[in-house]
Point group: C2
Chain length 325, copies 2
Amino acid sequence: MKLQKNNFTENFIIKNYFKKLNFDKKGTFNFNNDAAYLNLKNKKYKFTVTSDTISENIDFFKNDNPKSIAQKITTVNLSDLFAMGAKPHSYSLNLCLPSYVNYKWLKDFSEHLKKIQIKFNFYLLGGDLSKSNNLIISSTFFGYIDKKIDVFQNKFNINDEIFVSGNIGESKIGLEILKKNIFVNNKLSKYFIKKYLYPSPCKLGSMIAKLSSSMKDISDGLIGDLNKMLNDRLGAIIYLNKIPLSLNTKKIIQNGNIKLEQLLNAGDDYCLIIISNQKNRSKIEKIARQNRIKISCIGKIISKKGIYFDSQININNIKEYDHFS
Amino acid sequence: MKLQKNNFTENFIIKNYFKKLNFDKKGTFNFNNDAAYLNLKNKKYKFTVTSDTISENIDFFKNDNPKSIAQKITTVNLSDLFAMGAKPHSYSLNLCLPSYVNYKWLKDFSEHLKKIQIKFNFYLLGGDLSKSNNLIISSTFFGYIDKKIDVFQNKFNINDEIFVSGNIGESKIGLEILKKNIFVNNKLSKYFIKKYLYPSPCKLGSMIAKLSSSMKDISDGLIGDLNKMLNDRLGAIIYLNKIPLSLNTKKIIQNGNIKLEQLLNAGDDYCLIIISNQKNRSKIEKIARQNRIKISCIGKIISKKGIYFDSQININNIKEYDHFS
């Protein structure tokens, strides 16, 4: 009744590819129990929990590099933790694996997970494996944050400033290149496809939780996510020429390959939208500078409901992106 | 850009079917944030975390009642929490929904979740929705337990007694009836199919954590799970005539429809295997009696590795059940 090493069983996969990812934490019982214990030794903190699923043909393609898939499942979740002002603690992983997943795939996937775990300092708590037609990965992430801090998505005031981290639209351009809707030279193509396949979460959120009124990561597009934050309560004016774009993105726009409007609506950038009182601006900018994270003040909160631009743009081209529709 | 009420969007589904399931807990932010805060007010406790996935065609059938699917995703997880000695606290839910899922389905599914939440006193923290070809549900459950208690799956000694809660094999018989491998009268058919479609977790585990050496829920069959607990370290002798069977199950065996061997290997019963020192037996039995939970002492731990029966049985018919293979 013992599992053979050459059987591709749940135990075999866990022992060979995922066991090291627990980083020897006691509460994981080396994945020998059906559940794990989770405890914060420092009583100052509370847990933050977020859960996300990514699926073949929706969030990635069948033959995508397993490293890219590991990058995506961690980034969607880490990005949510950072937007809540939390630092990563641990995670659980539910893998629905189709038959094409082999040893090589599992090796690359789990090694890339380990790399990201080391980078952001968190460990694997447990999870489960099942079979399916398509590859589907669900993951629940745990972060920790000072008990006294609550980061709401829509608790800000008129005249608060709106910041965005990083550069927007790069992942979207990468996707359009992969879909052969945009044709560019090899160098540009590589640059943008990498942005699409290996998105990074923005850890700034966990460093400025006390200084921000509200934060949210951009998963459904800058306009769509900002709109969710406004929640039909207040409005925003956006300084169009302050929207952060990389030099490469500017080239793509100048060549007429894509319009700025489309990028304002581009999902999966995982930049942070930060709304904060003007008095905190210099402190936030200092922390960002010290950590070499680009942030740009792109607008401010106004009383009139809706999102307005300081220059001409065809707002009708902007539609909210819904992962589900 | 506002979501229309007649659109079947993520926001619409959350607002209409899942929002009430947060039981007005502050840390869930009414599901308006991308993550939730999780905090135990009583410093005596730590969290227990478990995560499980159930999939169409593997753990349930396409046209199964959504109430049955709600029952299964909660039972697999609650059962793990109870086996770790924990009481339920909260959970997150990741739904991969195919196009056949409609309003009626969501209503029945979410209402049944609510019923179970009320019964076992836990609330929905958050989660996410995505589309897929098959229905796949992942869920992470949080329980709480005294910080000082660790329930290991394989920390017991020679002569410790082995208990099982409930009656084994009923879910398996229900499945065989549904698959038309067993034909019985209408009344028996209804009885067993209900056991298969609506399995219950055994809360006894959370009441006797201090008194047990080790616990595990039966998800892969009594023999398979006991074998995992033995972990090639010790052995067990099983008193075959003490295996708990319902009167209905005895009828099925007597009619030659199924063999006891098959039931010893039957997954998804969610009975608990409890291993404890003889000195705790009367206390455990008293707590079980007070809570009207059937438990049976079915054997004891011995030094010789392997599982042995006190009477004739063809052990070759018993194979470990692996959800994944």
